[in-house]
């Protein structure tokens, strides 16, 4: 059963159309939702929480209808907003306990779960100090803890790596992967950075201007591209010429040679070429696609005059 399914979801505001006939279904796991700022990611989350009725279309979350069963959805999901949402004058413990009670957890269970969750997100002694004195990284952890404290089946994480330094970003991504893998909680995580999501997600949904651009498993984006990267110590051009003479499609790129794989023989030709020329081979690997390439090739070729169409722009 899909954890989230939308059919023709449309959200129009007086000035903008935030979502335009969006139909998508995703299975349990860590799902990335990607789009530029203003692509409709936050609006989609508000609609899925049952807080904002869509202009048209329907959606279900955990099999519950957003229009009729909003309350039941909110009981079993967690939400980490993109913006600052913490009162500065209470401690993280006090705040997370309160948020647990707001989900109906009895007092003792709320305290226990809050302590557990704060430990899982990596807040220790500092959780007894008022939040006002926390660093951005610590605040993000508190925001994450309040979304997880009631043990939801699904969490919505809106731009969780926003404002973090590279180390904090890595730790946050690591946590997200653990939430999906170890905690067994499905995650919908938004970001405008594809590279991040490639590292943690099972499935990536890309929206642009409120429209679905693509929705598929991460492997599908990063599948082998049918291209070999070859790196030799010296004599790149010599090897390139040698291969070209034997009818191999090859082009230089930086310090590497990019070779189109025509079949098993391609590998043999490169091996023999390197050996014949007495070069030192450093690496030879299948190049994989990056999700980013979706944005470079995907805008489904607007019927522009042939002269301006750019195919496979160099990276």
């Amino acid at each position: 059963m899909p954890i989230i399914a939308t059919q023709g979801l449309t959200m129009r505001f007086p000035r903008v159309t935030a979502l335009d006939d969006l139909s998508v279904a995703v299975e349990p796991g860590v799902v990335g939702l990607v789009g530029a700022n203003g692509a409709g990611k936050s609006t989609l989350i508000k609609i899925l929480l049952g807080l904002l009725p869509p202009t048209s279309g329907t959606a279900t979350v955990l099999g519950l209808d957003i229009a009729r069963e909003g309350l039941r959805i909110r009981e079993s999901v967690g939400f980490m907003p993109e913006y600052e949402c913490l009162p500065p004058d209470v401690s993280a413990t006090e705040f997370v306990v309160h948020m647990a009670r707001m989900c109906g957890l009895p007092p003792a269970a709320a305290r226990e779960r809050a302590a557990d969750t704060l430990r899982h997100v990596g807040l220790y002694e500092e959780r007894y100090r008022p939040i006002g004195g926390y660093s951005t990284g610590m605040r993000q952890r508190v925001k994450l803890a309040q979304a997880l404290v009631h043990d939801p089946k699904l969490v919505f994480l809106d731009e969780p790596t926003n404002g973090l330094d590279p180390a904090g970003r890595d730790e946050m991504l690591d946590l997200i992967r653990r939430i999906g893998a170890e905690f067994g909680i499905s995650v919908l995580v938004t970001s405008h950075l594809l590279g991040e999501l490639e590292r943690v997600c099972d499935h990536v949904v890309i929206i642009d201007g409120g429209r679905l651009l693509r929705s598929q498993a991460v492997e599908a984006y990063t599948a082998a591209s049918g291209v070999l990267t070859v790196e030799v110590d010296e004599g790149r051009d010599v090897l390139g010429q040698h291969l070209f003479d034997q009818g191999v499609s090859v082009r230089p790129e930086g310090r590497f040679l990019i070779v189109d794989i025509a079949g098993e023989t391609t590998y043999d030709l490169i091996r023999d070429g390197v050996a014949d020329l007495g070069l030192r081979l450093i690496r030879m690997e299948q190049r994989r696609h990056h999700i980013e390439e979706v944005f470079q090739t995907a805008p489904p070729a607007p019927q522009a005059p042939a002269g301006t169409v750019q195919q496979g722009a160099p990276r």
């Binding site: 508000k46 807080l51 909110r74 600052e84 309160h98 009670r101 430990r119 309040q146 905690f183």
Partner: protein
């Protein structure tokens, strides 16, 4: 992840009980009530409410002491007059604490976290109003109770009459608490910064009281006592006073109160309307904030 995690026993799912709406509403009410007195907050959040609470008690304690020594019945302050007598302190308490409940969570964008959970918009508003009203009631009712208890201990005459007056006084405190909290929360909810909220609540109090005093002065100079009495409905303290005097049999403490039961009923209806209206306004305000 970190090398310092010694006791990492992995993630445990929660299979225990999840309580329903009544529990959430009660927790929300308690949380707000604690916030109104700065409990669970740093020490400086407690200074104002407890200082004002102490100041509220001083005249009551002094009055009881004076009565115990002199046995002069007049030395004991009227129960129903107490809140009006101390109205400046009550207004300051309202001005400093209403923003704590109304605008703090708006300013720091905490509100959406509530509505992304099983918390209803109406419950959220009722819990806030109920909590502030309870805090205000405690502020006024505790000194009144001190007066009553002091009177009992030092054997004030006519205990039956004292009890009735005391209960009437408490009923008046309920009206004060409900009306003032409703007005204070609405004003504070529209002023996102705490400092402005304090100033705005004080301004509403001063302007309404000042306006009524001026109109009453002019009306009395022209011997128009009807207008002088009715205009009192426009200031919160005076409004409750009219209801107290005409419905609960309290002694008037303001210069003019319109005569007959009708003004009392009108005053009561007006209080109810203000409270209902403020609930409606707060509902819309917080609902909108929940979507920001």
């Amino acid at each position: 992840m970190s090398t310092s995690t010694i006791h990492d026993i992995g993630y445990r799912h929660y299979g225990g009980r999840r309580n329903g709406r009544a529990y959430v509403l009660r927790s929300l009410y308690t949380h707000n009530l604690r916030a109104a007195y700065g409990l669970g907050r740093p020490a400086r959040a407690k200074i104002m409410p407890f200082l004002l609470g102490a100041i509220m008690l001083l005249p009551a304690a002094g009055s009881v002491a004076a009565f115990a020594f002199t046995k002069e019945p007049d030395a004991l302050i009227d129960y129903s007059a107490y809140a009006n007598l101390m109205q400046v302190i009550v207004a300051i308490f309202l001005a400093t604490q209403a923003p704590v409940l109304a605008s703090r969570e708006l300013r720091f964008h905490v509100v959406p976290l509530y509505f992304s959970r099983p918390v209803g918009h109406l419950d959220f508003v009722l819990a806030k109003l109920g909590a502030l009203a309870t805090a205000m009631f405690a502020l006024m009712a505790v000194p009144v109770t001190v007066l009553y208890a002091g009177g009992l201990v030092s054997k004030a005459p006519d205990p039956g009459r004292q009890l009735l007056d005391y209960l009437g006084g408490l009923a008046g405190c309920v009206l004060f608490a409900a009306l003032l909290s409703a007005v204070g929360l609405v004003v504070a909810a529209w002023t996102p910064r705490r400092g402005f909220g304090v100033a705005a609540v004080i301004a509403v109090y001063m302007l309404s009281t000042g306006f009524v005093a001026v109109v009453q002065g002019i009306a009395e100079a022209r011997t128009n006592f009807t207008l002088s009495g009715w205009i009192g409905l426009l200031s919160p303290f005076n409004l409750v006073e009219i209801a107290q005097v005409r419905l609960l049999g309290a002694e008037p403490t303001v210069p003019s109160v319109p005569s007959g039961v009708t003004p009392g009923l009108v005053a009561l209806a007006l209080i109810a309307a203000v409270v209902a209206g403020s609930i409606a306004v707060l509902y819309r305000r917080f609902r909108k904030a929940g979507l920001s």
